[in-house]
Amino acid sequence: MKKLLIGNEAVARGLYNGGIGLVSSYPGTPSTEITEFLAKYDDIHSEWAPNEKVAMETAFGASLAGMRSVCAMKHVGLNVAADPLFTLSYTGITGGMVVCVADDPAMHSSQNEQDSRHYAIAAKVPMLEPSDSAEAYAFAKSAFELSEKYDTPVLLRMCTRIAHSQCVVDVGEREAVPMKDYVKQPSKYIMMPGYAKLRHPIVEERTEKLKALAEDCMYNKTEIAEGSEIGIITSGCSYLYVKEVFGDSVSVLKIGMPNPLPEKLIRDFAAKVKKLYVIEELDPIIENHVKTLGIEVTGKSLFSAIGEFSQKTIREAFLKEGVAISDIPEAQGEAPAVPGRPPMMCSGCPHRGMYYTLVKNKITVLGDIGCYTLGAVAPLNALDSTLCMGASVSGIHGFNAARGKETEKKTVAVIGDSTFMHSGMTGLVNIAYNATNSTVIILDNSITGMTGHQQNPTTGYNIKGDPAAAVNLEALCKALGINRVRVVDPYDLKACEEAVLEELAVEEPSVIISRRPCVLLKYVKPKKPLKVDMDKCRGCKKCMKMGCPSISFKEGKARIDNTLCVGCGVCSQLCAFGAIGGNEG
């Protein structure tokens, strides 16, 4: 049946038809929908894990038990799960195991632009890389068999463009795959030195076998254009851009398995062309491999290691090379210069009241990963740092250890509920154990927000929306060794300020839970929009300091957009003249 699917849905469908039994993941753009689509199938076990390491180890356990299993994550999530990955390479698997990892060239929604192919090379596991949804479906479906045949976890690399682009896919039916028997195999699965020493040579032998596979497999394909002098080795979405520009007029070697890379296939291809190029987004992985084969090739000297490519990138590079390009697009004209439109926190976002309080009191704020990272933008400019999941909590401890009382009184860490579950708890233990008087604010909006509303262990619901055990954050923080734990409503500016100033003043570690659910949650009913009383408004612009997108300034007065305002009332608390109201009762 032919359907229009985004890459991530195609992956999910391929994994489902390939016999998946369990998926465990942590959400992360652009990987999230793989697991969301899998969760729609009731005949497999699906779950959101607290972080990627737990997810991968859960998938490992299922594989050990004989079931085909999957975990999915974004590129930086693989950093978190790198520990199990490297040793899973040694143990191998029982039920086929696929690790989906989605890179984000151009950083549409990420803090760095790392290239996950390095992990495949370093961990010595095979990696597949589709170019569109149709291949994503086919590669995902085949990955379990590859995994079981070679006794290895398989990495499936997506990138933002492929994960979030739709194309027509011919989807088949699910194959029933029985679970394998569980057999105790100490020398395969207990990785202590004596056994691990026995496994390493097996890994090296496996790589040799996979190299042989790379020479002749469904993933790598050669398209020879008779009479063309140009040969291009490419992979992922770069293949699509090459075909968009050149059609069938140049020879192409398309790499669908970036690790391990073939040797003979590349040598044969290079021998057939006069001028060889490698076009790959991010790092020169294929290019360096070609160079180690002693073959002359042009790659990163022409195509950047930064950001995403497009057909325009390819056209411009080859024009520079003096290659004739047909159908060069002609634009109607240049776009006029217009103000930027950066993303921002929503109208009524519960994070805003807490951020306003911190900015008003000139607090140094170590931030974390989530919607609340948007507190960094104007006019709040609230954040001092954002590094990775959990780094606010561990980071403030180091910051205060370095600067002591000077900063303890005016520095906080902010972290969301889901991020705290992911990586914040261990940092909080460190604050208590190694004793800095640090103040951590958990911005608890009762959901994993930025990735599009996934449940987490604090929300009381599982991935299916069924009731689940909910972590009690107050009790948890106390159990981790923090005696001072208090809860405030971020819509109440006075309460926020009292809590922040008191907790910063005390000579012990403390946690403030700033608690109010995300306004975009379906069960949160917006209040009536607020209005500005034009007679009372003095045009002082104080209400605009918190950066609410509902409030604008026209003809010397504040205005509230009634299609955006959800009536949170934070702005009315800022107005000294009582000019904002109108939704009481």
Binding site: K2, K3, L4, I6, T29, P30, T32, E33, H108, S109, D132, R161, H164, S165, Q166, C167, V168, C237, L240, Y241, K243, E244, S310, Q311, K312, P329, E330, A331, Q332, G333, E334, A335, P336, V338, P339, G340, R341, P342, P343, M344, M345, C346, C371, L374, V377, A378, P379, M450, T451, G452, K541, M544, G547, P549, I551, S552, F553, T563
Partner: protein
């Protein structure tokens, strides 16, 4: 046949994903090769968003670059101008005249360009501007602006209206179908 390229642009939260799903479903049903490229994640939070839809006999790239776009469908005035450089010579811009202030305007760091559509027209851009918000309200919700606009765009395509309506029924939830059919109709007439 030549590949046709459409861009659907607007502000995160305006419903461009549903609009692209409608167009993608329709074109697939019509038997075209189709590619749609969306934006998920951070930029959706009130930021500028763009979705590419390309169709034809065989489509490779899912994205649209400078001078390649046949139709820009913009949910907001400023956003039409932002992406105007992508329009090919002879292409068309369909734009909702709604204004949504971006944060630099809210903070006073920039001004909303008052005559931005007139500027485009004076540069020779073919601009079909109309108010999609009023008909959306008439249909029942400001949120149906996306379908009003797609109804307006439908007039510019060779695909018959009833096929659009069939695709619409496939992509919206049954309880919102009547509202969206009305929104589509008002856009088509507008």
């Amino acid at each position: 046949m030549k590949t046709t390229s459409v861009m659907i642009v607007g502000v995160g939260g305006q419903g461009s994903l549903l609009a692209s799903r409608l167009l993608g479903t329709l074109l697939t049903d019509e038997g075209y090769d189709v590619k749609v490229s969306e934006v998920h994640g951070m930029s959706q939070r009130g930021g500028s968003v763009v979705t590419y839809v390309r169709y034809g006999e065989k489509v490779y790239s899912p994205i649209v670059t400078e001078g390649e776009c046949d139709y820009i469908i913009s949910f907001e005035k400023l956003e039409a101008a932002r992406y105007a450089g992508c329009l090919r010579k002879g292409g068309k811009i369909i734009v909702n005249t709604q204004e949504i202030d971006p944060m630099p305007v809210i903070t006073g760091a920039a001004e909303y360009p008052a005559n931005v559509l007139a500027e485009l027209k004076s540069k020779g851009f073919d601009v079909d501007d109309f108010d999609a918000l009023t008909p959306a309200m008439e249909a029942g919700s400001a949120k149906s602006v996306n379908i009003v606009l797609m109804g307006h765009f439908a007039k510019h395509t060779e695909i018959p209206k009833e096929k659009w309506l069939k695709a619409l029924a496939k992509v919206v939830k049954p309880q919102f179908l009547d509202m969206n059919l009305k929104a589509f109709d008002l856009g088509y007439k507008g």
